[in-house]
């Protein structure tokens, strides 16, 4: 009765099929190594803060912060896809979960960050000093 409960087989390739693993356990360790490398890169950037990334801006945010956010999203992707095995789920389940979150969060972020920037502008250019 061991294997008859019908869980789907694991997809063992990551990086769009460029890196294939022999077993699920091997894939788990591979993903751990990948996530560790990303974390080390993040920490190294956080400690050394390259001047080029700190002094240049894109859409009002330092390039360094964009790098951090993108690396975070990459990490989140591999945690969700391989540790939470979304990769092995039906695409309908995957979409129900991921798209809902992505759209709602993007909307929320847009509204709040836009408003925060506006209030900062009032504070900087208006006659109100600090306390609101």
């Amino acid at each position: 009765m061991a294997h008859d409960h019908g869980h789907t087989e694991h997809k063992l390739a990551i990086f769009r099929g460029r890196l294939k693993f022999k077993s699920n356990v091997q894939k788990i360790w591979g993903v751990l190594i990948f996530l560790s490398i990303i974390t080390i890169i993040e920490v190294a950037f956080g400690i050394f803060k390259p001047a080029f990334l700190v002094d240049n801006y894109f859409l009002g945010m330092k390039l360094l912060n964009w790098v951090f956010i993108i690396l975070t999203l990459v990490k989140a992707y591999y945690i969700a896809w391989d540790f939470m095995h979304l990769r092995d789920e039906k695409s309908s389940l995957r979409r129900a979960v991921v798209w809902t979150a992505v759209f709602l969060i993007a909307y929320l972020l847009f509204i709040l960050l836009q408003e925060g920037t506006y209030i900062e502008g009032v504070k900087a250019n208006g006659f109100i000093k600090w306390d609101f």
Partner: protein
């Protein structure tokens, strides 16, 4: 005793509950939708944090100056401790996946072992977070808060680090303790229904007296130094005026992105507005800067820590169920391990974002 189950003859049929719409069992799908809603709660918190941060973009505390402790080491060590916490949580996520995988192979021994490691990892993470909170609450240097809610910190204008940044000074080191008129009122000493919070260790006058006696000290404000050269070159008169103002008050106008350090005269003037001595942090005051900074730290890392705590408790329950062989007897075998696994990875997933927005960005 076996539970009595009455068969209706519709098991496995669509209207008998046997249908698996997304090829996931009811429990697993509901775990996913719970995670989705929880993710929205966390993003609400983090977006609110972003809102406040954008609102105070020119005065938000610099994370590296706040979280710079490492157990057993003195001095400035930003990043290392949180990096370690991140690794601990990712590692415990890995042991959890390994437990799920062992469950698929019906390997009770391995599931037990990996669940055990996961619980240990979670416990170490919680301990680390407690240590982090302790440092945050106890504080380090001390500061004074002004009427308008701004934090004034102290630096030694003569001592600089390798980046030419003036070194922070402990208020304890220069304060002149005066005679105290007031002691904290405790209900046992007078009116039992009247109480008050603990009084600050020093009065503002103590701090100012000590400051006046040490000519090498200067006040560091929350204001982050803009690029002064860029402001001066601007065609907007408001920018030029701002550059003018900054140059008349601050001594480190060349250090873009650092906290502004006032010259001696401006320091003395700023201290006139001080109303309370602050050390460490609570929900109302904190010595690091903006009040909201402390609040968001407590709420977001606290809410996450609460998730980790519940995760550890659930993992412990599942761990004992595994030992008792509960899942060997179940129809869907070790699926429960997979479901708590999802929750546990989610906690890791949230931490990845908390790590970025509190410590990196």
């Amino acid at each position: 005793m076996e539970a009595t189950v009455s068969n209706t003859g519709t098991e496995g049929k669509v209207w008998g509950g046997g249908n698996k719409p997304l090829n996931a069992s009811y429990g697993k799908m509901m775990m996913w939708f719970f995670i989705l809603s929880d993710a929205l709660t966390f993003s609400g918190f983090l977006a609110a944090y972003g809102f406040s941060r954008f609102k105070f973009i020119d005065s938000w505390p610099i994370a590296d100056e706040v979280y710079n402790h490492f157990p057993g080491l003195h001095g400035d060590h930003p990043m290392y401790f949180v990096a370690l916490m991140t690794f601990i949580l990712i590692a415990s996520s890995v042991t959890m996946v390994l437990a799920v995988d062992a469950g698929h192979h019906m390997d009770k021994k391995k599931v037990t072992f990996y669940m055990f490691l996961t619980i240990i990892g979670g416990a170490i993470f919680l301990g680390s977070q407690a240590w982090e909170w302790t440092n945050f609450i106890q504080g380090y240097y001390g500061a004074v808060e002004t009427k308008g809610g701004q934090i004034l910190q102290f630096v030694d204008a003569d001592k600089k680090d390798s980046h030419d940044k003036m070194l922070r000074v402990y208020v304890d080191d220069f304060v002149t303790a005066s005679h105290k008129e007031r002691v904290q009122h405790e209900s046992k000493k007078g009116l039992w229904f009247v109480s008050e919070p603990a009084l600050p260790e020093y009065s503002v006058q103590d701090v100012i007296t000590g400051f006046n006696a040490h000519p090498n000290l200067a006040v560091r404000t929350q204001e982050l130094m803009p690029n002064i050269a860029e402001l001066e070159a601007s065609t907007n008169p408001a920018d030029v005026a701002k550059a003018e103002r900054m140059k008349s008050m601050y001594v480190n106008t060349d250090q873009t992105g650092q906290k502004g350090v006032l010259n001696r005269a401006a320091s003395e003037k700023a201290l006139k507005d001080a109303v309370v001595y602050v050390k460490g942090a609570n929900l109302i005051h904190n010595e690091y800067g903006n009040r909201l900074f402390g609040d968001f730290f407590f709420f977001i890392t606290g809410f996450h820590g609460f998730h980790v705590f519940s995760g550890v408790v659930i993992n412990i329950i599942i761990f004992f169920n595994v030992i008792l062989g509960t899942y060997e007897r179940r129809k869907n075998n070790y699926e429960m391990v997979e479901k708590v696994g999802l929750y546990w990875h989610f906690v890791d997933l949230v931490w990845v974002f908390v790590f970025t927005f509190f410590y990196l960005v």
